[in-house]
Amino acid sequence: MPIISNVTCPVCGSLCDDIEILVENNKVVKVKNACGLGESKFLNYNGHRLRKPLIRKNGELVEASIKEAIRRSAEILADAAYPILYGWSNTSCEAIRVGLELAEEIGGVIDNTSTVCHGPSVLSIQDVGYSTCTLGQIRHRADLVIYWGSNPWSAHPRHIERYTAFTQGRFQASIWYRYLAHLSAYRARRRLLRALKLSSVREAPTIEAEAGLPPTLFRKERKMIVVDVRRTRTADIADYFLQVEPNKDYEVLEALRALIRDEEIDMDTVAGVPVETLEELADVMIGCKFGVLFFGVGLTMSMGKLRNIDTAICMVRDLNRYTKFIIMPMRGHFNVTGSNVVSTWQTGYPYAVDFSHGYPRYNPGETSVVDILARGESDASLIVASDPVAHFPKAAVENLVRNPVIVIDPEPTPTTLMADVVFPSSFVGIETEGTAYRMDHVPLPLKKIVEPPSGCLSDMEILQRILAEVRKIKRETAEVA
């Protein structure tokens, strides 16, 4: 029974690479070190998957040979005048490289899922830069960890334990014991509240006292702050939770920036937060030795979008005049960072790259897929390891499914249900090896731990075959002409 160690988990952008997997008869039977999400994927991935290529005929998806599916896809793509190639965050860099070549060959628009997660972060970085680092720096040095609009407890479950507050660093100790104390106190308080409610005493369930920051924040040890529009699970374990009104993050960040510069503010409260609290928070940030601000899609998707990030970055930049401060986006899919990285080295641009004129062009809002779909401009699509039908706004999906859709995915999704050609692929990081980039741009190898079912090719192989077939069709057309 082989135990495979140092496996990189192909789920979220934390890309934990210390997973141990027990394999029996080409089956994953036990998973060690992974979080709930990782374990769930390793154990259940094979239970519900596509095994045969499908082609839509007379309105129904029917099984087809791989050859037929490749030919059909190549015909659709070679014929298309403005195809989109979307997804790429749940596959390997090796597959993305081929995807970019295919996009160039067919004069398409290639976009990855960062367009609907951290695209705004990219836009703001392009405006003002950012001060960042790899996660190990935070592990060893950070004495102030802020999560803003991100909920690692649910989306990146091992982030805190591996990289931030609960990890043991060279210059900073773990604070997990404080968390335990904190959590039990919190639970006790909740129990009390529930009891009060049962005895039908009406009590507004305020959990944090309004006035000032808790004294722990002024300690020299590591501390953790969560800022969000609602009390997330991550907030429960933080030393301090700052709740801001929805869609007001921009104002709070701007106010903090002014306070960091020691400017006066003409208001008493900003987004429901007293200015004194913000002043204290600014002092905590200036006073730390090494601070880090992790932000999530809570900032990129809410009102202000790229400008929320813009001003957060500028705040961190300004803090570097006084101390060391770092900012990092919490990237979602396991290789969304890689999709940006590969796209950038090949084309100069991290996402929303339009090859229709034979060279890369970039202007999110114009060359990004949601916009192209909403305007009804594309005439075909290739979706790789993504599910836009489930996650795009309705108007975009309507236009997506109106035109031919080719999907490469190991499992059935709403998008495969609406597709015209479906390729069952192998699971990257389980059945196929490759490279992925962690949220801090550290490249890590993905392992092949079991054999894929017969007939399930890797994303890369499928793309290579489509590309070869497209070139063949082009040659054929040229000869006829």
Binding site: G36, N44, R230, R231, N247, G365, A395, P414
Partner: protein
Amino acid sequence: MKVTLLTGRTLRQGQGKEYGKLSERYLKSVAVCEMDPDDMKRLGIRENENVKIATNYGSVVVKAVKSLRAPHPSAVFVPYGPWISLVMSSKTHGTGMPSLKGVTAEVNPAPTEPVLSLPELLKRHFKKE
């Protein structure tokens, strides 16, 4: 009732996804609306009753559940998924990013309307030629 609609990932949605997007478990993890218990009281709905979420761009029926993250008065939380996407605007204001959090919406009880299964949902809303 007028609310601010928040969306995001949840641990359950993340796990549900791994059981397959056509699974019952996935539906149960994403076709829900986490509400402030006080708001639920105000609307007269109980746990697991259906509510209709409507915006300028569409409407969808999901199950209301009590939020464990309360208080967040007049803000509701729905995990990412095909249900909530139906009420989202595709406008990106030139950024490529549609507004997926902090959208103004209307939430009301929908005792007579069912929560559609995934195939039904797709069939109802999207046409394939």
